[in-house]
Amino acid sequence: MSDKPGGSVRILLRSAVLVAAAVAVPFYLEGFWLQAGLFAMSAAVGAIGINLLTGATGQLSMGHAFFLAAGAYSYVYFASDPGPGLAGLGLPTPVAAVLAVLTAGVAGGVFSPIAGRLKGAYLGIATLALIFLGQHLLFNAGPVTGGYNGRPVPPMELFGFAFADSPALVVAQVPFGALERLWFLGLAALVCAALFARGVLTGRPGRAMNTIRDHEIAAGVMGVPVARYRAGVFVLSSMYGGLAGVLLALVFQRTVPEYFGILLSLDYLAMIVIGGLGSVAGAVIGAVFISLLPQLLTRYSDALPLVAEPGSGGVSPAEAARILYGAAVVVIVLFLPGGLLGLAGRLRPSPNRRIASASTAEKASLRPSPETRN
C-alpha cells in the first residue's frame, strides 16, 4: 500500500495522530481506564509475540502464560532486595527488566528441542505441559516466587525517575501517579515491540515463517531451516511474553501464581484469532478487545441485560466476557478468517478498495491454493 504516492505520508500522519492521542490519554482519563489501558498494552505486547508464533508460523502454543510468568517473576527476583524468607538480587530495575526478558527467552530456548520438532496442535498439547510445570514451580519455589501469596513488585526506576506514586509529581495540573507514569513506559515498550515485530514479519524471516506455516516441505526445499526457524520463533515469542510479564507485574504491583494459568494462555489465543492471525495490528486489536471487554462489562453491568453484579448468582461480567469472546473465536474462524483487522479492511471506503483488494490478493497468493499445493 505504501507504494502509492502519498501512502507513506498518510501512514506517518496516521501514526502521529495515534501517538499524540495515546500521549494525551493520561491527562484526561481516570485511574480505572488507565489501568485497563495498561493491561491492554501489556496484553498487546504478549499477543504480538504469540502471533509471531501461532499466526505467522502456524505453531499453536498454549504455554504463553508460562513465559509471562517467567518474565514477571524473574523481574521481581532480580530487582528485589533479599527479605525474610525471600531471595532477591537487588539489581537496578532496568537491568532486572532486561534480564527478565532474556530469562523468558532462555526458558523458551530450553523448550526448543520440542518446539523445533513438533508442529501445529501437537505442539499445542506439548506446551500445555509448560503451564502445569510453571504453576508447580510458582507454588513450590517459595524463596524465589513467594509461593501462594506471590511477591510485591519493586517499582521501575529509570535514571532516577521512579514509576511509582511517590515522590509526587504534577504535570499540567494533573497529578502523575504510578499509573500515569507507567502509561508512557507501556506505550514505549509497545511501540518498540510492534516495530520490531513488523520488521521481522515484513523481512526475510517473516517470509520464511509464512512459508513454514503454509507449506513446510516447500519451505524446506527452498532452503529454510525449518526446525531452526521454529525453535527461533518460539524463543522470540517467549521473549515477547517475558516483556509482557514485566509490564504486567509493574501494573499489578504484586505477582500472584494463579493468574498465570491455562485461562490466561487461552485468552492470548483468543486475542490473536479475534484480532487477526499473523499481523502486528491484529494482535494489538485483539489484545485491546479482550482486555477491555470484561472491564467495560463490569463498569456498565447495571445497564446491561443478562449481566449481573459479581457474586449475585447470575452471569458475572467476567464470565459474560469469556462466553462472548469464546463465541467470537468460533464465529470469526468460521465467517471472518481475517479477524477484526480483516473486517476493518473490508469495510474501508471505496477510494481505497482497489488497493485493499490488491493487497488482499497479494496476501491470498501466499496461502496455499489447490494449484500450488502438491
Partner: protein, 296 residues
Amino acid sequence: MTTFLELLANGISVGAVYALIALGFVIIFKATEVVNFAHASLLLAGGFVVARLHSSIGFWAALLLGVAGAAAVGVLIEFLIIRRANVSSHSVLAIVTIGVDIVLTTELTRRIGTEVLALGDPWRDQVVHLGAVGIAQTRVVALAVAAVLITAFLLAFKHTGWGVAMRATAEDPETAALMGVRRGRVSMGAWAVAGALATVAALFLCVFPTPGLDRSTTFAAMKAFPAAILGGLDSTTGALVGGLIIGVTETLMSGYQNDLAFLGRGIGDVAPFLVMIVVLLIRPAGLFGTRELARV
C-alpha cells in the same frame, strides 16, 4: 511392598479412566483430523448432568442421560461448527474447539460455582481387601467398566460396518466417500462416542476418593491430553498405553511424594506432563503414532 501394590492397582485403574478419555480424543482425531481441545468440557458437561439429575431420577437413569447428553453435545459441536468450517488447515479447527471449550467451561463452572457435587454412585467409599492390599471399590469398578468399554469399542472398530467405515475414513477420506461411506455420519458418530466415553470417565474421576465434581475436574481431565499425545494421536493402542502410563506414574509419584519432597508438593499432578515431555523428546510422534511421511 503393600503400599506399592496398592498404588499400582490404583494407578492402573486411574490409567484406565484416562485411557477412556484419550480414546475419545483419538477417535475424533482419526475420524475428522480435529484435535479436540473441547474434550475436557465435554467431560464436564456429562458429569454435570449426572450430578444434577441423580437425586431426582436415580443414579443409573442419570448416568444414561449424562452419557446421552454429552454425546448430544459432541454431535452438536460437530454438526453446527466443525462441519460448517471451511478452512484450509486443521490447526485452525483446533483453535475453533478452543473457542467452544472457553464457552462451555465458563458456563458449566459458573453453574457449578464453588460447590462440590456428589454423583450419587452406589459404591460409595467401601474398600475391597485382597490379602493385605486394600483397594477402593470404585477403583475396581472403574477398571472393570473401562476394560469392558474399551474392548467393546475395539471389537466394534474392527468388525462392525460402522468401525470399517470409520477406519476407511481415517485412512483416506475421499476414497471412503467415493465408496459410499457417509463422512458426515462417521464424524458425528465419532463425536458422540467420544462424548459418551468422556461421561463415563467423568463419573470415575469424581467418585471416591475424589470428593466430587467441582470446577477443578477439567484440570483432571486435561491429564488425558498427554496420555493421547504420548501414545500417538492417531493410535487407539497408543491411547490405552498412554493412559496407563500416565495413570501409574501419577499415582506412584503422588503416593511417594514424601520421598520426592525435593520436587515440591503436588508433583503427582505434574507427572503426566513430565512423562509426556520425556517421551516427545525421544519420539516426536508418540510411542505408537505413525511418523508423518511426505512425498514431494
